[in-house]
Symmetry: C2
Subunit: 179 residues, 2 copies
Amino acid sequence: MTNGVDTATLFATIDAVKAAPDAARFQFRAANSWVSGTHNRSTIHGYFGVGEEHTHERSFTFDADHPAVLVGNDNGPTPVEYVLHALAACLTAGIANIAAARGVTLTSVHSEVAGNIDLNGILGLDPGVRNGYQNITVRFTIEGDAPADTLRQIVEQSKARSAVLDVLANPVPVTVKVG
Amino acid sequence: MTNGVDTATLFATIDAVKAAPDAARFQFRAANSWVSGTHNRSTIHGYFGVGEEHTHERSFTFDADHPAVLVGNDNGPTPVEYVLHALAACLTAGIANIAAARGVTLTSVHSEVAGNIDLNGILGLDPGVRNGYQNITVRFTIEGDAPADTLRQIVEQSKARSAVLDVLANPVPVTVKVG
């Protein structure tokens, strides 16, 4: 075990997927119910992968809302803040795995994520302004038993293989259906 | 109040931003710390908007992890599942606001989000496979005191003005810094 990562299982998993690529086809899911106003709640439990249905060990529920300044009741973070959490979490998980695979023991990884957004977009007040973040910056501080350059390369490799960074940096087809 | 939305305040807020567009410039933030392996934790508290610093009424913390099948300990959802929650939450908040603005009283809004991902991408096993979701589908069931077509148009308008849908469907510049 390095960095809490079971590297033997990690390498065995990669070998298993090499031998049976379809095992890597996953479907993740969330179910959301409106509560009141901008307050709503998601449940995350089941997913598909390695050829079969799975469930997380427990059901996870999360509240989202707008703060008062955005005409909500602050019962949870805004949806766009969850996106920043997802980005930091994805990059950090990758850093721990990649460092372990490279035999680097980490002592700390911290990140601060900031996303700039002009709400003239979602308010429909300026057609030249997009609805979402105009840009996002992640700043890492990372410590471990390797030179700064090696640690920086681990962050770079995590960036190059991040699922959440990809869906932000590149277009994803999203279909919305009713009924 | 319609749908728990204070429509007078909503319209007043839009008018205030019309008069002072810079008020709509927001910065949202998350801070993340690595725990062990793929387990890490984010805190969401402060943000900037309407020309000044704000904090949520309380600090929100969220754990992310991988399940055992992805060599983690299932201490929280995966980062990519949080993205699905964010998308459903954003669309649902928009639906409640838009319905209220149009005088439609909703009785229920539920959505199921599914994202398909081929982990051959992040495992580096197939250069032709992207790291993130190949596609995402959101399926809404919505009930209220309006014809099905009107409810469907409300969902369409929320889609057209969703910040999270935009950052998934269209590219966002993401910068990752170390140190």
